[in-house]
Amino acid sequence: MSQDPKWDSWRSRWFELRYKPAGMLAFMLHRLTGLGLVFYLFLHLAILSKLGGGPESWDSFLALVRSPLISILDGILLLGVLFHGLNGLRLTLIGLNLGLRWQKASFWVILVLSIALAVWGSAGLWILNK
């Protein structure tokens, strides 16, 4: 066991899943999706440099990203964006002392809504990409 209390509290905040209230689960998911989205943002910007390479470079890239694997990754991205965005709005309302009564319930609603919208949105992308 680590003797450093700072490390202990950090570790228990992130990796101990037992006895976590909904608010803490929301906090963890918000951070994990946030960090994932930061990674995606820089990946996305780096890939867009292909646009600077002209039509051949971009259009050959498009053929690659129409693969089923990429569609699955797009679905995961959509789920992360939806959860982070909806939960971010929830956090803003809570921070403004609004809707505190629905703090827990709204987390579960947002989780389910994000999954449902991600499935719907991915299906839409899948159909468009066909």
């Binding site: 960090l35 943002l41 600077g52 965005g85 971010g88 709005l89 990409n129």
Partner: protein, 120 residues
Amino acid sequence: MRSSVNKHQASWGWLSQAISGILLVVLLGIHWVAQHYLAAGGLRTYAEVVSYLEHPLVLLLEIAFLVVVTYHALLGVRAVLLDLSPGKRLVRLLDAGLILTGIATVIYGINLLRLILATE
């Protein structure tokens, strides 16, 4: 808990993250729908990207999106790193690094837009 961030700084960070977050819901919503759902086949070809960006309003929205998303992302990274309770000097170093990263990212993005619009 020891913290190198005072209350005033923390609320400033919270407020600007909330405001940029709300802006992102709108800007990312527009970006996503326009780039993937309104585009034939779910993705724009090179020629379609160019003609799309030629609308001044679209260009303005994409630049606004770039600036706001970079700001929100780096402020988020800062919040996560500050939870590790770094010392004051480390926070200053981190802030300088994040500001430089943000500026470099926006310059990169605007330069890319310039390159795309210059190819026609």
